[in-house]
């Protein structure tokens, strides 16, 4: 499967590069995405494509993975882009350490590299001889979860009983989102009954929540690290007949959750403007190409989505 993807990639690269040679030599941007199976990244990729089509001044080559942890394919993609001498690589790393050496190679080859979505590991950056304040374009996951958490806490009041449903243990955004939730727990002196993972998955979140409801029938709020899990959690609460008593917040703002928010079954979620995120990263990249010196964290907006803010 990987081989196949690789072949497809090489072929498409060849086509693109020859056609672009024949044309007026537009700058080429390589976009390395995480799993396109994830709705969030899918919309992000579509946003980038749309931006490329509307802008028309550059050539976009997007590459996606099979799963969120498919590091090899990402490394291969970056190295292929280096060989193809693209002008810019825009990268959402599947692993914040594993991709750093490839980034270093690309930078050394004179390619503008924009790291977005998930930040590269600080120590790995230093170890590989890249500047410590290496550019990162992305949302503040911690801030996002803190905002939505606050929204929940305001609703429930201080010392409310809450549960956190975490993402994949080890994933950076999962850690950051939990961190944001934990800030709220401290600030509002919430009674954290349990914090456990459901591996980003709907069915598992449903099972875990159902079981936790048995253990903690008096829970008042649930903070989920993504919307897929929120779907399962809401369903579990609904099945237990407590949909009016327990408030749920999520993260990502997927369509299915918007519907739940409208129905009042879910309190809020966080929009990190996925469709624009890759496009934003590309825009920052062009600033570099024009000679501007950009470094550090270029934050992209995060916003709480609730019944009031939904049209």
């Amino acid at each position: 499967m990987k081989k196949f993807l690789l072949c497809a990639l090489v072929v498409s690269l060849l086509c693109v590069s020859t056609s672009s040679l024949a044309a007026e030599k537009k700058p080429v941007v390589g976009l390395v995405m995480k799993s396109l199976a994830n709705e969030f990244f899918k919309t992000m990729e579509e946003g980038a494509r749309k931006f490329a089509a509307e802008d028309g001044t550059f050539e976009l080559i997007p590459v996606g993975m099979n799963s969120e942890t498919d590091i090899d394919t990402q490394i291969n993609a970056v190295e292929n882009f280096i060989t193809q001498k693209v002008d810019m690589i825009v990268l959402a790393p599947a692993d914040s350490v594993g991709l750093v050496p490839s980034v270093k190679k690309a930078v050394d080859a004179g390619i503008a590299v924009v790291n977005f979505d998930v930040t590269l590991d600080k120590k790995a950056i230093a170890d590989n001889g890249l500047p410590e304040d290496f550019l990162f374009v992305g949302p503040d996951n911690t801030l996002g979860s803190e905002l939505v958490g606050k929204y929940l806490a305001e609703k429930l009041g201080k010392k409310a009983k809450v549960i956190i449903i975490e993402g994949n243990p080890g994933a950076d955004n999962a850690k950051q989102r939990k961190e944001g939730f934990m800030k709220v727990v401290d600030a509002y002196e919430l009674d954290l009954l349990e914090s456990t993972t459901a591996h980003w998955e709907t069915e598992e979140a449903n099972t875990v929540m159902t079981n936790l409801l048995t253990k903690y029938p008096d829970v008042q709020g649930v903070m989920c690290a993504n919307d897929s899990m929120a779907l399962g959690v809401v369903k579990a609460i609904e099945a237990a007949g407590k949909i009016d008593k327990i408030a749920v917040v999520g993260f990502d703002n997927i369509e299915a959750c918007q519907a739940l928010i409208k129905e009042g079954k879910m309190l809020a979620t966080v929009d990190q403007f996925g469709p624009e995120m890759a496009a934003n990263a590309i825009k920052v990249g062009f600033r570099i190409l024009k000679g501007e010196k950009v470094s550090g964290w270029e934050k992209t907006p995060v916003e709480v989505v609730s019944k009031e803010t939904l049209r």
């Binding site: 899918k42 069915e203 048995t214």
Partner: protein, 328 residues
């Protein structure tokens, strides 16, 4: 003669052979009931029923395939594809509800059967091990699900459909009733019909069955188709339970199903096993998930303990087999 002795031996044999794993299950439940508050509450038991239903139905199909010495790794992805097709049908505004419902269920089961047929046909026609074919199907079905759905979650099913999913018959969740019906039907087919007899016989000695003048290929492909049909049913149950259809769901379902089958005492090399065992196997996994969480065990510890108990159950099972041989 010593009729009584033989009779009691026979019972002991039956107990060890059929109910050995059930004993482990009962002990496990007893322990949880004793130490975990609310574990034995009606509500919690009903929750466990709901939670094991989908795996039970998938495992039922998987049991047929494993009894033939095969394996189906594609069940999770195929389930996802089935939900997408069924979800698109049932949310199709052009169809009146009853038609949409029948169409969705039909599409789901048909899709499962077609994928199963592909698995079985390729495995049999070109003598490729089902491990490889179904590994391919795992990717094919996942890709198809993502492609067809545009990698988007489908939701907003008709209210009547969603309401049916949360219904309970005398306290028993409706999807568990479906699961038990499925297992019972499967058990009947395996133990009482010619088809079931052939499954066991082929699993034990395919060549002997072929030389008896049976078309073993037909039976083997049928087992995969049946497994696919079970996945199609499980997909509808998934939609009833969670009211969504998604191209990313079902990852890892194949492993839970295989675990349930193996814990249930079905031999991976085929020919031996039963659906009673599979049902208990699925129940053991469900009870562990539930009980360990209620105990308050943390994520990683829970994962390790579940793994250890799966291994222990299977190891204990080998002793059970030895014991039951002594009394056969």
């Amino acid at each position: 003669m010593q009729g009584k002795n033989i009779q009691s031996r026979k019972w002991l044999h039956l107990l060890l052979n059929e109910a050995g794993i059930g004993l482990i299950f009962v002990v496990l439940c007893g322990l949880f009931a004793a130490f975990v508050p609310n574990f034995a509450s009606l509500n919690n038991i009903s929750n466990i029923f709901t939670q094991i239903s989908i795996n039970t139905v998938i495992s039922t199909g998987m049991t047929f395939v494993i009894l033939l010495g095969g394996i189906d790794l594609s069940v999770g992805s195929v389930l996802s594809l089935c939900t997408i097709l069924a979800g698109m049908t049932i949310t199709n505004k052009a169809l009146p509800f009853p038609f949409a419902l029948v169409g969705a269920v039909g599409a789901s089961i048909l899709c499962g059967m077609i994928c199963g047929f592909f698995n079985g046909f390729v495995a049999e026609k070109w003598k490729v091990h089902s491990f490889v074919v179904t590994l391919g199907m795992l990717n094919i079905a996942r890709g198809a699900a993502l492609q067809i759905s545009g990698s988007r979650t489908i939701f907003s099913f008709p209210a009547a459909f969603n309401a049916f999913g949360t219904m309970a018959v005398g306290g028993v969740p409706v999807i568990f009733v479906m699961a038990v019906t499925g297992v019972s039907l499967g058990h009947f087919v395996l133990k009482k019909t010619v088809f079931g007899r052939m499954i066991y016989a082929i699993g034990n000695n395919e060549e002997a069955v072929r030389l008896c003048g049976h078309n073993t290929r037909k039976y083997k492909i049928s087992a995969f188709v049946l497994c696919g049909a079970c996945v199609g049913v499980a997909a509808v149950m998934y939609m009833l339970r969670l009211n969504i259809a998604s191209p990313i769901l079902g990852a890892g379902f194949e492993l839970s199903a295989i675990a349930a089958v193996v814990i249930g005492g079905t031999s991976m090399s085929g020919g031996k096993g039963s659906l009673v065992g599979t049902l208990i196997g699925a129940a053991i996994i469900g009870v562990l998930n539930n009980g360990l969480l209620l105990i308050g065990m943390k994520d990683f510890a829970r994962q390790m303990v579940t793994g250890l108990i799966i291994v222990a159950a299977v190891v204990l099972d080998t002793y059970r087999v030895r014991l039951s041989r002594l009394f056969s």
